[in-house]
């Protein structure tokens, strides 16, 4: 079932065939037409030679989740047809190269579906212009415009904008490919397609992916140092920071490994720069010892774990939420930490800023969980969001000797809330010790039992002191409902759209969405859980890790846990169908 007037374009082909940039161009056109867009990417078959697919969901109302169907499939190679054939919706269209696929697919009817085939010799058209397949993708886009009943002008405008810097010849060749392919389709096919979504009244929005949202948020928060080692799907976050490093006065250092990356980050933060490191599960595994170093030295630290399918190398390009328990307990011993899992572009941008504040205010590591799906999906970011809403708070800082009450500065002073005023190395007239050993208030190595207990209590106290800064989870939909979907992190919008779908089946549902995963603000959250009638937890892992936390911290047991660990994100339809089937 569809929620609105919407369709999905899928562009599939081999890596290097321009799949991603075509997706980007179509998104721009949709946006220019006043339509909303949501893009997600998948690499379903790396073994078969780097098969890429980009999905562009276009609608006249805001959309924030992937769906399971394709309306218009552009297959740049034969393999793409084979893989995605079954996903084409009834009355959908397959655009293919009729030189490559000899068998004519004019109007294919199977048991499930009936769709149209539009064959265009994109490669031959391109070769006629450039003696290569370089413009095959542009030729295919021309056929898509014919099918969509969209004017070619939109696309020629984008081509001029994007390629003018490269050369006029590239612009001209692209436009020639576009026109020749369009003429071919006009000659061979009738205008039988009923697509009527040609414009909309979308509120102005930016279209950014999750990695950009995190990077922009970090830049806004004043990140000055970042170090990382390449690992999918965390690398695009680092790339975005590195590309903007000079303009914003940031050092983005690629380290020799993840251990070095986090240790450099701890060093930079100790010295006073807001600092960030990131990786995916495997790289994060290497970081855990230094996470504890930040814990015991009370060094502010922000770490992003962009999760992918595990364990071990697992599914490098697929999504999963299976590192939750791992980050909660990563590193030996006990120390306070905060774990945050944003669920969309705005939350990613906002919550990483909160993460930097919490790290500074309470001098502890803050972990941000995102995943391949969120990191690579291009989401709506409404332009009316105030980009400057979060104020930077660096906590209590001591700048010189006169700020200390006594002769000797106690870096780890016992205080009521566990937070000791922090000096940075280099402060005039102040020196102090920090280290991975247990220490006394002056940071001096100390194994005394009484001091140990006091110092542990001081550190752990911070987890309680910060609770007022931890909000309760957000509720979407009515306060009272038959069914409550519980989401955390990236399952947010699949749940919200599922709730809207359920309403069409006369099932009232609402969503409780958690972004602050640890520590919970139990006092504020408990009332929300108490009024639930029937709950279903939706998470991308095999063991119900978040459901387990609800049991542990709230003694709350959901009626159903919807778990998915096939490497793909949740689709709203999938959730609503399961609820209808399993819970009614």
């Amino acid at each position: 079932m569809k929620l609105s007037n919407e369709f999905v374009i899928a562009i599939a082909g081999k890596a290097g065939q321009g799949v991603l940039s075509m997706g980007d161009f179509m998104q721009h056109i949709a946006q220019n037409l006043g339509l909303y867009s949501f893009i997600w990417v998948d690499y379903p078959s790396l073994i078969k030679g780097g098969h890429n697919i980009v999905f562009i969901r276009i609608s006249d109302r805001p959309i924030h989740a992937p769906v399971e169907y394709i309306t218009y499939l552009i297959a740049l190679d034969a393999e793409s047809i084979e893989i995605h054939f079954d996903e084409i919706i009834n009355k959908g269209v397959l655009i293919y190269d009729n030189d490559i696929v000899k068998q004519k697919i004019s109007r294919k009817t199977t048991k499930k579906q009936q769709f149209f085939g539009v064959g265009v010799p994109f490669n031959a058209i391109s070769r006629g212009i450039n003696k290569s397949s370089r413009y095959a993708n542009t030729a295919a886009i021309a056929a898509l415009h014919f099918v969509l009943n969209w004017s070619l002008d939109n696309y020629t405008h984008i081509i001029e904008k994007k390629f003018k810097k490269k050369s006029q010849k590239i612009v001209d060749d692209n436009i020639l490919a576009l026109k020749q392919a369009y003429a071919y389709v006009e000659e061979h096919y009738d205008h039988i397609f009923s697509q009527e979504l040609n414009h909309g009244e979308a509120e102005p929005y930016y279209s950014i992916n999750g990695s950009q949202a995190l990077a922009f948020g970090a830049i806004k928060a004043g990140v000055k140092f970042t170090a990382a080692y390449p690992m999918t799907p965390a690398t695009p976050i680092f790339d975005s920071l590195a590309q903007n490093a000079d303009e914003y006065g940031i050092i983005a250092k690629q380290a020799e490994d993840e251990i070095s990356a986090i240790c450099m980050t701890v060093g930079a933060s100790y010295a006073g720069a807001r600092a960030l490191t990131m990786s995916s599960g495997g790289g994060f595994s290497l970081m855990v010892e230094a996470l504890g170093l930040a814990g015991i030295t009370e060094t502010p630290l922000v770490v992003i774990n962009a999760m992918r399918g595990g364990p071990s190398t697992g599914l490098p390009t697929k999504t999963e939420q299976s590192d939750l328990r791992f980050v909660l307990h990563a590193s030996q011993g006990e120390f306070p930490r905060v774990v945050i899992a944003p669920g969309d572009s705005v939350e990613l941008y906002t919550l990483i800023q909160e993460a930097f504040n919490l790290a500074d205010l309470y001098q502890l590591p803050v972990l941000i969980l995102t995943d391949k799906y969120l990191a690579t999906s291009q989401m709506i970011f409404p332009q009316d969001i105030d980009l400057n809403a979060i104020t930077i708070d660096r906590g209590i800082l001591i700048h010189n000797k006169s700020d200390i009450g006594s002769d000797k500065y106690a870096r780890y002073l016992f205080t009521k809330d566990g937070v000791s005023p922090r000096a940075l190395p280099g402060s005039q007239g102040i020196t102090f010790h920090s280290g991975s050993d247990e220490h006394n208030e002056y940071g001096e190595i100390c194994e005394d039992a009484q001091n140990r207990v006091k110092m542990m209590d001081k550190r752990m106290k911070k987890e309680h002191s910060l609770l007022p800064s931890i909000p309760k989870p957000e509720v979407y939909g009515n306060t009272h409902a038959e069914i409550t979907l519980i989401s955390w992190g990236s399952t947010k919008w699949a749940c919200i759209e599922a709730m809207e779908l359920l309403a069409k089946y006369d099932i009232t549902a609402n969503v409780i969405h958690f972004t602050y995963i640890y520590p919970f603000n139990i006092r504020k959250t408990q009332p929300l859980l108490s009024r639930i009638n029937r709950a279903i937890v939706v998470e991308n892992n095999a063991t119900g890790q978040f459901a387990g936390l609800l049991k542990q911290y709230f003694n709350f047991e959901p009626e159903h846990a919807l778990l998915k660990y096939d490497g793909h994100p949740f689709y709203p339809d999938e959730i609503s169908n399961i609820i209808r089937k399993e819970m009614f």
Binding site: I259, M264, G267, A271, L387, H433
Partner: protein, 289 residues
């Protein structure tokens, strides 16, 4: 060397818990002497300790100290230096941490030419864990983990640093505080990555490489016609230790021309800790295509 009037300064009240006679005492004194002679204010210095006997050194001075993780002192030091290039950042670590657990960091810091000094307390054993074989132990060295003696060829720290394009490579001896002080001073002043391979007797576990052993075998390269300006000649020189008969000390190689990491970065980015971070505008990032 003139005796220092204020030799007692820059120690903390707590005293080292190294074994009596440990080579670390000589390195400890030499490091403090070097910093005092260079008149570097204490608050501008950060000593980054590795873990092990030597790594605790920072706790027993009143300079800033950051005692890191075993093998990880170098990347921590690099992060500190990149964030605040006004700080003098010195790594103190042993052969186990710097050449075993953290060898990759050592090599990459060499080629990165990050402006830190690394003092390698090279006692050829894992002392604090009761004398196990280390990456620089001599073949045949017997310990609890190698009861039949080690079969492995020891690493040569100076040669490693030279192959990784370090711009300052030196060796000295904990039993010669005057020489070690001078060497550490040169390392601190060097505009780039600097290694001081400090031969350090472990009086408890290493009965071969003793004060006497080194006293008989070290010689100062400045007393010979040797010039430390040729990397390949320095490599050759550094291999003299491999027979266990001669130990050249002093600066084996120095290149002040190659820009340090700081110089490369400073052209592009203002010192990180001095940048204001309030009111950064990111609107243009959202608007870029």
């Amino acid at each position: 060397m003139k005796p220092k009037k204020d030799l007692s300064s820059h120690y903390t009240q707590s005293t080292p818990n190294w074994c009596p006679g440990c080579g670390n005492y000589g390195i400890w004194v030499a490091l403090k002497n070097a910093l005092q002679e260079l008149k570097i204010p204490a608050h501008k210095v950060v000593l980054v300790g590795d873990v092990g006997c030597s790594g605790k050194l920072s706790y027993w001075t009143d300079y800033n100290g950051f005692a890191g993780l075993h093998g990880r002192s170098i990347p921590i030091a690099e992060g500190i230096k990149m964030a605040n290039s006004d700080l003098i950042v010195i790594v103190v670590g042993g052969d186990g941490g710097l050449l075993g657990e953290g060898l990759q960091h050592f090599l990459h810091a060499c080629r990165r030419n990050v402006n830190i000094a690394v003092i390698l307390h090279n006692n050829q054993v894992y002392g604090l864990t009761t004398g196990q074989t280390s990456p620089t132990s001599d073949p045949g060295y017997k310990s609890s983990t190698t009861p039949d003696g080690s079969y492995e060829t020891p690493l040569n720290p100076s040669l490693l640093a030279l192959t990784a394009q370090a711009t300052f490579v030196s060796a000295s001896f904990a039993g010669n505080v005057t020489h070690l002080t001078q060497t550490i001073k040169s390392a601190i002043l060097h505009p780039g990555f600097a290694l001081v391979d400090a031969y350090q007797p472990c009086v408890t576990y290493n009965y071969i490489n003793t004060y006497e052993f080194y006293s008989k075998r070290v010689y100062d390269v400045t007393t010979t016609p040797y010039k430390p300006n040729d990397r390949f000649r320095a490599m050759k020189k550094s291999t003299e230790i491999e027979g266990g008969k001669k130990f050249p000390i002093g600066i084996l190689f120095q290149d002040t021309e190659k820009p340090s990491l700081q110089e490369n970065i400073q052209n592009r980015v203002k010192p990180l800790v001095k940048q204001p971070i309030k009111n950064i505008s990111v609107k243009s990032l959202f608007e870029q295509d």
